[in-house]
Amino acid sequence: MSLWIYEVGLILRSPVALIATLLLAIFAGAAVLAGLHEVSRQQAAIAAIPAAQAEDNAAVAVRVAESQDAGSAAYYSFHPTWNAPSTLAFAALGMRDVSPHMLRIRALGLEAQIYDGETFNPELALPGRFDFAFVLVFLAPLFVIALFHDLTSGEREAGRLRTLEALPHGGRALWLRRSGLRFIMLWTALGVPFLLGALVSRAPLAGTAAFVVIVAAYLLFWIAVALLVSRLRWSSVANAAALAAIWLVLALVLPTLANVVINRALPVEQGSEIALAQREAVNGAWDIPREDTMRRFYANHPEWDGIAPLPETFHYKWYLAFHQVGDESVADQVQAYRTGLERRDAAARTLGVLLPTVGVQAVLTRLARTDLQAQLAYQNDIRAYHQRLRAFYYSYLFHDRPFAAADFGRAPTFVEGG
């Protein structure tokens, strides 16, 4: 025990170690605060939905009151969906900054609504937002380098190495103790801000523990790299340069190259192209005979066929039918797009096994449910909800039933994961 106390005393007198640890704690703290702020902003936006929705419904009800047309109700009514952040999302925002976490949908064509909101921000796409995962994956290795690059070489350069190693507890045990102490300092600098964030966010114990273990494992990986380099018996400057080069390759160069390779090997069209194709299909429907559209619609949805004939004048059931036909015309593209994204995601996760920088990000975003899987699950929820909305409005439209003010309250509501 006394040896640990002496080592603590020594490291507390090392300005570089203290400043580095403090700086890392500040970065981690700032990232946790930024993450909590972002999550809180998203939660507030989601919490504001019911009031805004009630106001919106009231306005649409006034508009529809006279005609009692279910088609007008379907056309003008927006229905909110949301993907609430998990309690660990503050630590790894993942795709929540580039993918929508709220979407107001109508019972019209869905695909254009989903993929219209798909934006691509190149500034955020590569390194991601400044969150705890960013600090851990990209910045923490630099602090490992700062604390470990001269662990043994510093003693050699100061002329103390032989003196220390000639003592019974001065060989491997000494380096293990010093490495352990530096590891604990770095782990604490990252772990304490994270744990405070998890406490504020009321994150589950298992997920929090998993995060803490991953932080430790990732630090240990970089410490192992630093210790391997130190075995080459280079100077401290050479060690630092070599470790910085390794960091550059592992954290930036290889993931970027791998991203390019995966994107080239697994081409996936943009979601906006699906939106465009769906819109073209829908707009094109105005120029083709209504009967053709309805025939295609009834072929896939015979349950609505023959209930009430289509009048000569405009009717929303034709309008909604060609929207649905528009959706169905891009179904293959949608499936190909999702499959492509999933294959890319699987390739990235496979790469993560070899590349800890990628692997840790993947695991953290999975734990925080902010990854592609979570995004696709949200889309599944939207699709399921949209089906219920269609069925709801179609039951009025295709039976030529009037849509009264009270019917707005009967519209299905969105349930996350439902």
Binding site: S2, L3, Y6, G9, L10, R13, A158, G159, R160, R162, T163, L164, E165, A166, L167, P168, H169, G170, G171, L174
Partner: protein, 244 residues
């Protein structure tokens, strides 16, 4: 006597790849004696110390430190050795006391404060320097800190690597007196040095090392101990051999 000597080396062969450094070294340092090992650069003096400390593995031969094989149990051997390198480099930002306490902790010792003070006094370190940071210490003062640590450890073996290089004559004399005191407490002391005069003053035995083996082994005799002129001649021969 030979079997129980704290330092015992027999037919030691050490090589660094193709370079043979020790080629059959045999040496025995009994308890309560000082042996000085002299030789030119590359004669194998430092390798001998490194082998005793367990830093270098022997290719063949026997090495024992107080009965322990340092190749097989380096920590066990190091528990029995106090080692002073040529330049005693310690932590500049720590005081003499803090440095000594830390080194002793790494040796598994936690001496009482009074014992440390006593050791500093015995080593000749002025009391005002005990709590001073080492940054301003001379080489002699640093050595006194290291000697104080060695005194407190009471190891059966003391290894000295060029201990008097860079010391002025007075500091050398002080150091020799200290080493003699450690010897009188029963330690076996092996001193690697280029300082012939200092070796002649303090050592009980002087061994000349050349090409990895002892080529001359002289014991102190009579009041003059050693024939300085003969030592100089012998040393000149080994230095020339090393240069060649």
């Amino acid at each position: 006597m030979t079997e129980t000597a704290p330092i015992r080396i027999e037919d030691l062969v050490v090589d660094y790849g193709a370079d043979a450094v020790l080629t059959g070294l045999s040496l025995c340092v009994p308890a309560g004696s000082i042996t000085a090992l002299l030789g030119g650069n590359g004669a194998g003096k430092s390798t001998t110390l490194a082998t005793l400390l367990g830093f270098v593995r022997a290719r063949s031969g026997t090495v024992r430190v107080d009965g322990i094989d340092p190749g097989a149990d380096p920590d066990g051997a190091r528990r029995r050795i106090a080692y002073l390198p040529e330049n005693v480099a310690l932590y500049e930002h720590l005081s003499a006391s803090e440095n000594a306490e830390y080194l002793l902790a790494l040796s598994g010792e936690t001496p009482a404060r009074e014992a440390l003070c006593e050791a500093f006094r015995a080593a000749g370190l002025q009391e005002a320097a005990w709590s001073q940071r080492l940054a301003g210490f001379s080489k002699g003062m640093r050595q006194k800190v290291a000697i104080a640590v060695a005194l407190l450890r009471r190891t059966p073996v003391l290894l000295l690597d060029e201990p008097t290089s860079g010391l002025d004559p007075r500091a050398t004399a002080d150091f020799n007196a200290l080493v003699s005191a450690v010897r009188d407490r029963g330690a076996a002391i092996l001193m690697v040095t280029h300082d012939l005069l200092s070796a002649a003053n303090v050592a009980d035995r002087i061994c000349f090392l050349d090409a990895g083996r002892i080529v001359e082994d002289l014991e102190a005799e009579g009041p003059d101990r050693f024939d300085i002129r003969a030592l100089h001649r012998r040393f000149a021969v080994t230095e020339r051999a090393a240069a060649a």
